[in-house]
């Protein structure tokens, strides 16, 4: 039995001490004398969030399959422990060995959302690793970032030695071998990074320089050494059925957000919604084989003992073997009373039938994501969901006994007008009306419950809307106000509940999303002034953030409210996610024309992803 890094007195003082003790079922313990590389994999948020992330489980499993590597986990200590660790100068430690992170060879950080940037600094700070990559020596781990936010890594590029662009399954072995070689040859840390930058998918920010025009936009970037590429192409798994996937995911002791087996059925999405970053980044869509999924479902349930399995993908209804997979899962799960959860399913006769089979008789609520209130605006965003489909789906659901409906919308989309916002209220009202038309009085169990939620739209890199202006905070709040009053004036307003997001944090997220290298100093300064856990509204300090922008002489609106010219060079343009800039620009112009684009299965749009020669791009002999 290993020692714990924290004394009993500390563990007894903090909330949920089980966050810090490791030793969970399926956690991997190795003999540290028998491995060459110690890898700490980090999700910079609290344990319950980090443990729910599939990507880390995949990487953890893969790295631990390598005999010479021991991969451990580390999460952000919650604010209570954070304060104690600072006061008592306790170094941040990995869960498995309980040893300080600073002694590791690598610190890998997955960067899933912009609002975790200050938590990255918390991790470095508590570990005793210098914030700035340029100040690190071989005494420090190599700090490597991955995940969706690395598709614009520039705002945090000073804090990372390198970024891994794309899917982790492909290049880690090569990188680790290079690391071992360099350590054996006793090369400098700088030389290791220079050589790492020559591995496909690796971006070493310190090896590139950028310059700006007087108006603040990017002028050019160049590499400081000739051996490295100026454009970095993302890494991608071509055969998703024959690759790493955890058979024995870790089972936390405490209840985490995702307390279930997660079966990723496919990667990518054929839909091409213009606001959606994931829909572009993970192109082309690649399905895992039915055989693989069946086998993993059984093994993962057996090895975890979870009572629920969830299918994961951006749009599960598009998975071509979905009926076969569900039949198999229903049959397998029946005996052991295992729940099947089906997020991201289009509501239609098929999905309602499936949900009837897998869910409790107590019907949970159904979710629609129209995203915009009018057909015109849905065309602008290329959300291929019509009002008829929504109303028909609702009618079928009400007939099937459901009486709660959740609806998700975005406010602040490009080209949005007041009519579009009123359309949100009108759609909610019509759904309520469908309920009262469909369900006879004697069968009603009270009022239908419609919950409409709006989030504020934030333009993201590598989407057709990367050129679009973002709303100001006041515009956001005005739109939320219009939505609220429009809902309140509906006939069925008593059946409709409306929730909206905070506007402050959406503005900051927008700045970070399309930010550049000049933001590094703002983030560091904001952290030093106490900003942390920005994704948690109770700890978000808006005043401090905006005070810091001013202090650093940076105008936040440069990053948000400005419409970009077609030919502006973006800070992230040096990355190649597979989808070409020409395609995105074409889509941006089509959005302005309110013109829709068919999905990948209907007609290839020549986005550029076909060069990977896999997935939907090669279906039916296409693209060969």
């Amino acid at each position: 039995m290993g020692r714990l890094a924290l004394k009993d007195e500390i563990l007894m003082q903090v909330e949920k001490p089980a966050r810090y003790i490791g030793n969970e079922v399926n956690a991997v313990i190795k003999d540290k004398e028998q491995v060459d590389i110690r890898f700490a994999m980090c999700f910079p948020d609290v344990y319950e969030i980090g443990m729910s992330h599939l990507g880390i489980q995949i990487i953890y499993d893969m790295l631990n399959q390598f005999e010479d590597v021991w991969c451990e986990r580390v999460y952000s200590p919650w604010v209570d422990l954070d304060a104690i660790m600072r006061r008592e100068q306790i170094p941040l430690f990995a869960l498995e060995s309980q040893e300080p992170i600073r002694n590791f060879d690598f610190l890998g950080i997955t960067i899933q959302y912009e609002m975790c940037y200050t938590n990255i600094l918390q991790i470095l700070d508590l570990s005793g690793i210098p914030f700035l990559a340029e100040e690190r020596t071989w005494e420090d781990p190599v700090v490597i970032g991955g995940g969706p936010c690395t598709y614009n890594p520039e705002p945090i590029c000073d804090f990372f030695d390198l970024f891994y662009i794309g899917e982790a399954e492909t290049r880690y072995r090569e990188l680790l071998d290079l690391y071992k070689k360099c350590r054996d040859e006793k090369t400098s840390r700088k030389e290791f990074l220079e050589r790492a930058a020559q591995i496909p998918g690796m971006y070493v920010p310190s090896l590139y320089e950028v310059s700006y025009h007087t108006d603040g936009t990017l002028k050019e970037r160049h590499a400081l050494i000739k051996e490295i590429p100026i454009k970095i192409e993302k890494e991608l798994v071509t055969d998703v059925s024959d690759t790493y996937y955890p058979e024995k995911p870790i089972v936390p002791f405490i209840k985490v957000t995702q307390d279930r087996v997660v079966l990723e059925i496919q990667r990518g999405c054929i839909r091409g919604c213009r606001f959606c970053q994931a829909g572009q980044l993970y192109r082309p869509v690649r399905e895992r084989s039915l055989e693989m999924l069946k086998a993993y479902a059984v093994k993962m349930l057996k090895n975890t003992g979870h009572e629920e399995i969830s299918l994961s993908s951006l749009s599960s209804s598009d998975y071509s073997c979905l009926p076969e997979l569900l039949d198999y899962l229903i049959e397998t799960c029946k005996e052991q009373k295992i729940n099947i959860s089906l997020p991201s399913l289009r509501i239609d006769a098929f999905s309602l039938d499936v949900m009837n089979k897998v869910q409790d008789v107590k019907k949970s609520s159904l979710t629609f994501a129209p995203e915009a209130g009018s057909q015109r605006l849905r065309n602008v965003i290329n959300k291929g969901l019509t009002q008829e489909e929504i109303l028909e789906g609702a009618r079928l659901a009400f007939e099937g006994g459901w009486s709660r409906v959740k609806l998700y919308f975005m406010l602040g989309l490009p080209m949005e007008t007041e009519e579009d916002i009123e359309g949100i209220a009108d759609l909610c009202n019509q759904i309520a009306a469908v309920y009262y038309e469909t369900v006879p009085k004697e069968k009603r169990t009270g009022r239908v419950q419609i919950v409409a939620s709006t989030s504020f739209f934030i333009p993201k890199p590598f989407t057709p809307f990367q050129w679009a202006p973002q709303c100001t905070k006041d515009e956001f709040l005005h739109k939320a106000y219009l939505t609220r009053t429009a809902i309140a004036s509906q006939l069925n307003q008593k059946s409709i509940k409306y929730n909206w997001h905070e506007a402050d944090v959406s503005v900051l997220e927008g700045i970070m999303a399309r930010g550049d290298r000049r933001l590094n100093k703002v983030i560091l300064r904001a952290y030093q002034k106490g900003c942390m856990y920005d994704a948690w509204s109770e700890y978000y300090k808006n005043d401090v953030w905006f005070e810091t922008f001013e202090e650093c002489g940076i105008d936040p609106s440069f990053y948000t409210t400005r419409e970009r010219n077609d030919d502006e060079i973006f800070p992230w343009d040096f990355l190649d996610c597979g989808v070409s800039r020409e395609f995105l620009l074409r889509e941006w112009h089509k959005a302005k024309d309110e013109s829709i684009t068919p999905n990948c299965r209907v007609q290839c749009q020549g986005c550029g992803a076909s060069r990977f020669r896999t997935g939907v791009c090669t279906e039916g002999g296409r693209g060969q």
Partner: protein
């Protein structure tokens, strides 16, 4: 049919709370492939009953729960299956089928035995051992006990069935052997449960000494049922050789 399972909890898992231990076993039972019975109804769950919750931070070698199963071959096989899916620090000690109509684990609990030691004895008042034995020798120890409904005055002495000072013994998952240990046998009936911390805090108050926070190491030795009467108790472990 019902099976009673006895387990130990020590080492790092002492920081897992009672509800999470229950969740842990629900998943472990699935991993072990045990033919467990599920309740009827909309959200079926395993039919289990835990004897007495153990506070976070305490260790134990006398934890119990009952489990309803559809089939049962033999104790050895069951124990082996369950043990094979345990984490370090949770150990299956015994498994026995229960007789038809036996009271469930929770309802059976009458008392619990503990070994209590101090993280750092040097901070204690001089002659505390003598004082503790004097304290226990008193015929009456009036105390205010906080309950869910409010506060009530009870005679603590009636709930302390035994108290001894013993030489410390080594325990799994503990690095050091304490010099002295206090053996406590306390009432653990539902609604009457007395925690060892409460006894020792009460005692040290009589010496006008405030126990520093987290200074006690508490180990549950056994959870007991009463095979005698209310007047003449005969306390035996929840699983015992008749």
């Amino acid at each position: 049919m019902k099976v009673r399972i006895k387990f130990a909890k020590y080492g790092t898992v002492r920081f897992i709370g009672h509800l999470d231990v229950m969740r842990y076993f629900q998943k472990a039972i699935r991993r072990a492939g045990i033919d467990v019975a599920y309740s009827e109804g909309f959200s079926p769950h395993q039919i289990m009953s835990f004897a007495a919750p153990l506070s976070v931070g305490h260790t134990s070698e006398g934890e119990y729960f009952d489990l309803e199963v559809n089939s049962f071959t033999d104790s050895k096989d069951f124990k082996k299956k369950l043990q094979s899916v345990m984490v370090e620090g949770i150990e299956i000690l015994d498994v026995q089928p229960l007789e038809q109509g036996a009271k469930n684990a929770m309802a059976s609990v009458a008392a619990a035995a503990y070994l209590v030691s101090f993280r750092d004895e040097t901070i204690l008042p001089a002659l505390w051992k003598e004082a503790l034995l004097d304290f226990y020798a008193k015929p009456e120890i009036p105390v205010i006990k906080k309950t869910k409904k409010g506060e009530k005055e009870i005679n603590l002495k009636e709930s302390i069935y035994d108290l001894e000072i013993r030489t410390g013994i080594s325990k799994k998952g503990q690095e050091t052997v304490p010099e002295n240990e206090i053996y406590l046998l306390l009432n653990a009936e539902s609604g009457e449960n007395i925690k060892p911390v409460f006894v020792l805090e009460t005692f040290f108050q009589t010496l006008s000494f405030e126990l520093p926070p987290f200074s006690l190491l508490i180990h549950r030795l056994e959870t007991m049922q009463n095979m005698g009467t209310q007047e003449e108790r005969r306390l035996v472990p929840l699983l015992w050789e008749k």
